[in-house]
Symmetry: C2
Subunit: 107 residues, 2 copies
């Protein structure tokens, strides 16, 4: 049984091109860590103004987040990504992922 | 081969509860029409301020939209949904679905 998770973040308007480039070449070790921690069918969508939508499917999002929070490769990735985002108030991007409420689903 | 599609709309802040209720009881004929026109794994997520995120998988989003545009049940559903949304500028909600760009995917 999978949870469907959606979260929003805001990429700085002056860093969009570099953000796209980095996400076309995510470190293989980062991809492996995501998969190993249950992040499946994971997409990021970017609106032209920098609004970023994340979507993933996982058995348990709290466990998926906790697993990544303890992964060294993720700490290095999130440290490099943090400057791309607006207003995280000191949190890492992955700590700022607040799931929205799913109000409809059709298989 | 499936396209992953993400779009955003804005539900009026004073209609959120009713929007949720309607989407907990979408007409069966509307669900059938979506499935028949290739809308798969279709979710709607609602942020507390009314920002609505749609996510679906389909073989061809243009064809999936065109199929629904010609479905009578969809015309009736969209007419009932239009007052829930902000600033559609005369378009039906389904006509205002502009896909965001996917910048990352991990299967």
């Amino acid at each position: 049984m999978m949870q469907r998770v959606c979260f929003l973040l805001k990429v700085r308007a002056d860093r969009l091109d570099e953000y796209r480039e980095r996400h076309a070449a995510v470190w293989p070790e980062m991809l492996d860590a995501l998969s190993a921690n249950g992040w499946h069918n994971y997409s990021l969508f970017l609106r032209e103004d920098g609004l970023l939508v994340g979507y993933l499917e996982t058995e348990d999002f709290a466990a998926a987040q906790a697993g990544m929070a303890s992964a060294g490769i993720n700490a290095r990735w999130q440290a490099e990504m943090a400057p791309f985002f607006e207003a995280l108030d000191g949190a890492r991007p992955d700590e700022a992922m607040k799931p929205l409420t799913e109000v409809f689903h059709l298989a």
